[in-house]
Symmetry: D2
Subunit: 307 residues, 4 copies
């Protein structure tokens, strides 16, 4: 409950095995807008209601998974303060020097669970297509699932306890919900908010470092979740589970896979979070209800398949 | 875009001419939960998904209108800092000494448009009825329109320019949208956010001080807006306008009146706001579309009837 | 409550002042599919979930209005029986000989309110685009308001009492609802069903013959009504009223105008009707609630503007 | 496509192991209204928007399952005609003489799959609680899942081919959809409509006679399906599958179990059916998509658990 200057999840770079198949998925089926192709072949995408230049970067590679996720920070001074804090926490922070269109200074560090995190204060604003004077409420003829925004990542890793200290004590996030193992001590899952959303990033404990569970995209309502399910079925997208609802966050959800096996989520709803809310605690025996409120059991795939 | 510690609109005190009629309206029709009746006859209500003790206070009086609205602040230190800032801005700030159940230290000031504003850092948390361990997603058998939270107030007053300076420079709000008159200079309406909501308070220019336009309550979706309209019709509540949609905020809305003539709103949706978003500007000739996107014209009542 | 063989409203021919403007409206905004242009310039359209060749025929003319509406009948024998009945009722029935693509034998008569009605048993089925083997649930990338079907016409005319006898005693419709004037005798409005829909055609009393109030198109839900309102506003379509709900039929509705001034409706919901249901009766003093349940008053335009 | 006088599924009698548990389920959770308890302990229930006295009869017994389902017929003459036809088809038809409140003459027969079917032309109309003059659109404070109507039964049995002949040639139903085995000949499942609904009764082939798969209740929309899922989870009702969508009928659905193990469905949407529509055919390899469009696979439980 201390403001660090971090505003929101700003982007995620996802490795895909075949760029053309990936674009069919992320553009035609998920419904992101293609913004730009970089000289190195990376493709930059955004959801329609984002003002910034991109929120998803696709990189063709031999393995699937997430390269990094980035958070937008209020200003350059916040960046410096955050860098100091992260270093004081004991992690290296470097300035990224690889080319990235439309993006200002980027600070990069690897958090205790092995995930690469970027912080940046500037990204070119290309607008949401409606203009800033007398705008309409939405663009015409959106495609696919019509996501409004990149919402968050859920990541699997080993030392989620150290991650929790980093995110709450240094990065200014608040712990909104957590799952505690049946031993009453081990924390299995942690959900962090830097906003009024019930989560902006989440970590689940697993033996390995740097595992990617899913990137999530916001839809407007349960109705749009239904439309997304229609789109998934019609396009023979590999479904994981849904439409269903989370006990954690109360969000409506569907999980599915991109052609490279990376999990995507579309998410709608969820309560309005404030940092003075009590932390919601889930016990391991209620894990099914916590994750999938309607089925009250989790499929093994959800717990074990990551990229 | 500077964090002041203000977390959210926390409460509004509304004057009603007949308490019994008001309770039938706010409890049975709107669907707030009755928490407590004070020794002085004031009744304290909350929406189901609020954790704090109350968000609406009804006071029986000879005239309708709003006594004050209050904002929850992160901690006592923020309160002191805010008090210093408001005084430096040139306004008196007093500590309230009247009795108020469940509420800590309250600082009170009158903003340039003549509205009384409270700031407080503590209010007893009585929970949202679901508990904090393995909670369900909603309570059973909610009544009426099933609002989740008190959302915001919209207030009419004279010096909204000074208000804008106070709210952005001292209180840490961001201007999300505004309406500019056909002279290209005079600002007619201002919408301020202290969160990821498109507005947490709004002011519209009028010749008088301290006018109350409406208090708004959050619903989950356009579907719940439809249900609210059913409830309004079934109970012969005085309808103002709706169901419709705002151009400003993009929220779905219905306006209606309590038995004392105070205007209420139920509101759902609206975009996710971030403080680095461009300010959205509306021109006076597009005022109809700005306020009521579907009709693209405003009823005279909306502009002139306040309490 | 006697089965005559009439299955459903099958088509409506609408006069438009400018075909290009009309097509922009009916195809790009309303979202009908263009099927064919006849040699005489008439354009044939259908809604996506109709199997038959067309349900809307646009004819360019100097005046707007409806030329006729047609009902699909089970088979040719029903056609003959219906012709006998209509003649026995005292009306002329002719076989139409003008060219009409994809349509079989058509019997034409003018009902007592002066409207031209067609009956036919055959129209080429071109399918709903999903195929009849292992179909998907909906096509991709529907446009505009995404109507599923032409639903019904509401017509204004003088002798709605004779119409009521014709539709119930000869054509096999059932009276589902009606509005009775304050004299307790004069019937102002009548709603007839030949299906499980609350109405398949309706007549409202007025001094003139052969007036066209609106053609209505079915949407799936209140959510799609909201989307339709967005589309109407975004395309600056002339709005009549809505989104709102009818007391009569309980359907969700928006009324708006095509560029020639013909009124359209999009309609969703409404109860499931069966012919043994009691007739629902509305009194004239409740006319507002009957027509527009939320506002509980009718705009003058709704009562007086027809084409 | 020949009208026999059958109007709709009118009731189903379900055997339950414990009446008190059953009533908690059917009244408090599903949300049916309790109408009457018979002298023999049977309890009569209805959904709110049905006008007739009851649509569900619960009978306490040692085994779960369905005793019979009944169809409302237009008039007594239709009853006699139908009895003649059924006898001509080779089945016995008897007049029921056990006591049944509010119900007129009942003809009973056992169809080729071993299910007991009732036909009746009279049942006392007690109304939908809204009255027939200037009615509101829905009652206040409906409970649970708020079903509007009993919708249909799906039954498992052996000779579904003979059933198909009976239902189409004698009872006047139309075959809307069917599933054909991979041999290209054996029909696995048949869906019949006597209305504009995509099905009013359905049969699936299995080795045994007289198996009960589920009774289905109509909800208004996908949104209400979501609410039903919340109710199911909150009350720890045994979930079968959902929320999901059928390829067959396109309806939105959840399956769950009453405390005796009888399967219930809540169903919303589905296309508007007309008897001149082509029969939709599903191949066995698409059975998953046919039954559960989103998962595109069926759980074993769905195919094998009946009562």
């Amino acid at each position: 409950m201390s403001f660090s200057g971090i505003l929101r999840p700003g982007h995620v770079q996802i490795r895909v095995l075949d760029m053309q198949a990936a674009l069919r998925h992320y553009v035609d089926v998920l419904g992101l807008l293609r913004v730009q192709r970089g000289d190195d072949g990376r493709v930059y995408l955004k959801a329609w209601d984002e003002h910034d230049h991109h929120s998803v970067i696709l990189r063709e590679a031999d393995t699937s998974g997430m390269d990094f996720t980035g958070f937008k920070v209020r200003d350059e001074a916040d960046l410096d303060r955050l860098a100091d804090g992260i270093r004081a926490f004991g992690l290296d922070v470097e300035e990224a020097h690889d080319e990235r269109p439309a993006t200002g200074r980027r600070l990069v560090f690897t958090c205790p669970t092995g995930h690469r995190i970027e912080l940046y204060a500037h990204k070119a604003q290309i607008g949401n297509g409606l203009g800033n004077v007398n705008p309409e409420v939405k663009p015409d003829n959106l495609k696919g699932m019509r996501p409004t925004r990149f919402d968050h990542c859920l990541l699997y890793g080993d030392d989620i306890d150290a991650n929790a200290r980093l995110f709450t004590e240094v990065l200014g996030f608040d712990l909104s919900e957590r799952v505690v193992a049946s031993d009453g001590k081990t924390v299995i899952a942690t959900f962090f908010s830097c906003s009024n959303k019930p989560h902006d990033i989440a970590f689940i404990r697993c033996p390995d470092k740097d595992r990617f569970h899913h990137a999530s995209f916001n839809l407007e309502s349960w109705h749009d979740i239904g439309n997304a399910a229609d789109v998934i079925a019609r396009h023979n997208v590999a479904m994981d589970i849904g439409p269903t609802r989370h006990g954690i966050t109360r969000g409506y959800t569907i999980y599915f896979f991109d052609p490279s096996g990376n999990r995507n989520e579309v998410f709608a709803g969820g309560y309005q979070y404030y940092p003075d809310h009590p932390v919601i605690e889930w016990t391991e025996d209620a894990l099914g209800k916590a994750i999938f409120y309607y089925d009250r059991q989790i499929n093994e795939r959800f717990l074990t398949v990551t990229t």
